[in-house]
Amino acid sequence: MVGFIVSRLTQSALVLLVMSFLIYVLLGLMPGDPIDLMIGADPDVTAEDVARLKALQGVDRPIMERYANWLERVLVGDLGYSRLFSRPVLEVLVPRLAHSLVLMVVALVLSLAIAIPIGIYAARWPGSWTDQLINLVCFAGVSIPPFWLALLLILLFAVGLGVFPASGMATVSDGGLLDRAHYMVLPVLTLAFAGIAGYTRHTRAAMIEVMREDYVRTARSKGVAEYKVVWKHALRNALLPVVTISALDFGSLFSGALVTETMFAWLGMGKTIYDAVMGNDYNLALAGLLLATVVTLAANILADISYALLDPRITYRVERRG
């Protein structure tokens, strides 16, 4: 087990290193140039000034050298300044990561709370018309463009009924807990929708498999009430891995959150990365992407480890070849 964790950690560290280099190079290939942006508004700057500035900032050095310098600074916790916010990158990112996590956790809890009962219900009579209907709705859930769902929710609840605000995080004059919750409703619904579809299918599949097991038949044959068989015997075994894995599927949550945050002007990580890329804020974009990668990779490792711990049929032996 320790070997398994170590090998997963090394592998992720390697992915992270490669990724950091790729992001660094890719961001360097975005339109514009930090020095040009810096002097954009000043007509008095001469060509020599530009060259001097470039040398001062090190932009004229080869890419490997610049990357090494940047990496060295990152490793001691210096992520640089954000151009858009004129503040250290970390000061911008940390509160925004918190905003994202709040949104993601609430959406996750909501979607699991809805998906698990539905999935169990569908698994009780596989092939019945309710099961087929649930299946179709799940397909709809994963096929709907998230931004369009957001548009529809805005159209219905903000423009039409006027019950929920169309964007933002809180009323300026209020900002209390209830007010914030009010602003969260539509973004959470948008983000939860795809999750519900996915988790329902996972739950259904896991429950169907478990209900075929011998110990479930044993429980039934010794006269345990059906609801007890389902909710106690079967559920515990079916759900633990499903919930763990689903909950740690941060990669797709992050992607979903980016769209949702952008649509509802929710100041989270996704929107920050989007704004930074669109606004040529190199330092912020770099740090944001790197943080998103770290969180996703960490969640993947946790999911793998807990899966191996929860399901004894999974071996943690490092796979050499098939």
């Binding site: 890719l26 941060f250 980016l258 769209v259 998103a292 070849r321 098939g322």
Partner: protein, 305 residues
Amino acid sequence: MASARNLDMSWRRFLRHRLALVSLVVLVTMAILIAFAPAIETGLGLDAEEVDLFARLAAPNPIHWLGTDELGRDLMLRLLHGGQISLFVGISAALASALIGSVLGLISGYHGGRIDAAVMRFADGVISLPLLPLLIVLAAVDPVKLGFPEAVAMSESFSVYRIIAIITLVSWPTVARLARAATLSIRHRTFVEAARAQGFGATRIMLRHILPNAASPILTAATLTVGNVILVESVLSFLGLGVQPPVPSWGNMLTGAQDLISEAPALAVWPGVLIFLTVIAFNLLGDGLQVALDPRHPTARGDSS
């Protein structure tokens, strides 16, 4: 090779999957409408590109069946042209992913060892990354800095090919994994060993003996990929990083819709309906293929699905 009897049985299983059948009909109808877009255009005597600022945001009427957009262009024709682009992007990127994924999956499954380890670790790496933020950076790269001549980078259709390329870059690993798994399961079967004993080369064995037997999962994955690509394309185009106007795509037609949502809700509804219908149709079709092509699938035996 699947025999004629096998194909017949698969076809019958497919017919029993009613949702997949409906999806196929929906997609074929849509493809026909889109293919006849130019004919419809001349038939109605309209031009999809024609801007008419006096007819902005018109309600549906006998000339403009679905009304007009914020620049007075005919909405229905724009939807058909947008569909052309969205479907083209979806199918091209899915085909490219299927091709790259199959080749790499076959090679790493057949040869194993270092090649296998390298390809699969790379695929794992791509899959474990936060997809959308990565795509946004890829889409924001300046093509001129990559060495494309300015004339090419500025041309209207460039953004279409760029989006196909970057989506392919992140979607081949799924196909590669499936192709590899299928290859591993048949690599040591008797007919493959026989071909090897006869002295056939690795390429011939992979193409003639393994690929036909690995075709079902690849086909299913490719179908599901089309839906996914269309979804991702719409998100990127909506965010202003995919297909660039004036070339219409269902995604970029929704870009301005949020600001106009109280004046012209129809603009926010129609492109989304079409994206949704197309994506769900491809997903259901993929599901149907999975059931039809896999005789061991639980729902394949008898009971309806």
